[in-house]
Amino acid sequence: MDRNQISKWFKNPGKMANKYSFHVVYFCTGCGIIEIPPSITTRWDAERFGIIPVATPRQANLFLITGYVSTKTLKAIIRTYEQMPEPKYTVAFGSCPINGGMYYDSYNTITSLDKYIPVDGYIAGCMPRPEAIFIGVTHLWKLIDMDKADGYKRYRRDYKFYRANQEQLFKELGWPPLFKDASL
């Protein structure tokens, strides 16, 4: 944790601030949300690292997708993700967004999330403990340092791919494409 290194702050304040002020979209996508209250309250206190939940996606820069994603939720997730301002990071939480987990044969939950929105990091487990969240966050710090947490860039670059996948799942998304001039 290099929060106290002032020289880094002067070198790249935006990146440093993005690292140490994760405002999380409060979206209980799945059962993983049950470990979010413990990690933001007394016991684990995520606010130590500047992680707090915020009300709307406009103010957030981290999207924790906590658990399995049903199709109905996926629509809301895409909407919310597109409303977040860049730079934005997505961390999928639990096994289910990776490959469907134990719901691999469920007709209503998607199997892999990264076909629909880009994911910067996965925290595996069912369910991951609060400590795992913090380990995930430290990994995300490293990724940000290495400029590898570039999900939002990929989304912009491959928007046609993602949009095609989304439209294949939903007949009608209900909102126009986010980027007009996206290329595949």
């Binding site: 998607i110 892999s112 799942l169 007949k171």
Partner: protein, 175 residues
């Protein structure tokens, strides 16, 4: 329980009633009788509509509707035998022409159950004001809870195969 059975048999003609030792009463009836039977039982004090379920007996080409009733307490702080009783009403309908009269006029809270069964089994409840989708976002050709709905096949067709790590890497590095 026995008294109730006698009364029911006196009142309705097309019932077969079994009573199990754990206060479960099982009533088999026709779908036309269900509403009046529920009404009668409600007036008898079995006011708690616990569950409306459906079983897909695909071999016989029938759906079996299960209505489960129990009773609230008559006196607030005294436990009687009646609350222990559970009445399970069964009615079979044809699988091809799945239609049944809605019971929401008898029990208000049957509404979401009927909506759900409509969505999951494709049973049409006549007289229900809003048979709109409840749970599902997508539309399914076969309602998913029917036995002939193959989930694995559906998942492979719709959500695609789960990409391996190599595929994911390739996807990430795609330019």
């Amino acid at each position: 329980m026995e008294e109730l059975k006698k009364k029911l048999l006196a009142y309705f003609t097309d019932l077969t009633i079994q009573i199990h030792d754990d206060y479960r009463m099982c009533i088999n009836t026709q779908k036309e009788t269900v509403v009046s039977l529920l009404n009668y039982l409600k007036n008898m004090g079995y006011e708690h509509f616990a569950l409306l379920s459906c079983i897909d007996w695909i071999d016989k080409g029938e759906f079996e509707l299960i209505y489960i009733l129990s009773a609230y307490m008559e006196v607030c702080d005294k436990y009687q035998e009646k609350e222990q009783g559970i009445i399970i009403i069964k009615a079979r309908i044809s699988r091809d022409d799945a239609k049944v009269i809605s019971v929401i006029n008898v029990f208000e809270n049957a509404e979401p159950y009927e909506r759900e069964l409509h969505e999951m089994f494709g049973i049409k409840f006549e007289g229900h004001p809003r048979l709109t989708p409840l749970m599902l976002e997508r539309e399914y050709e076969i309602p998913p809870f029917r036995k002939d709905f193959d989930t694995l096949k559906y998942v492979d067709n719709t959500f695609g195969k789960i990409p391996s790590i190599e595929e994911r890497k390739a996807n990430y590095e795609r330019t």
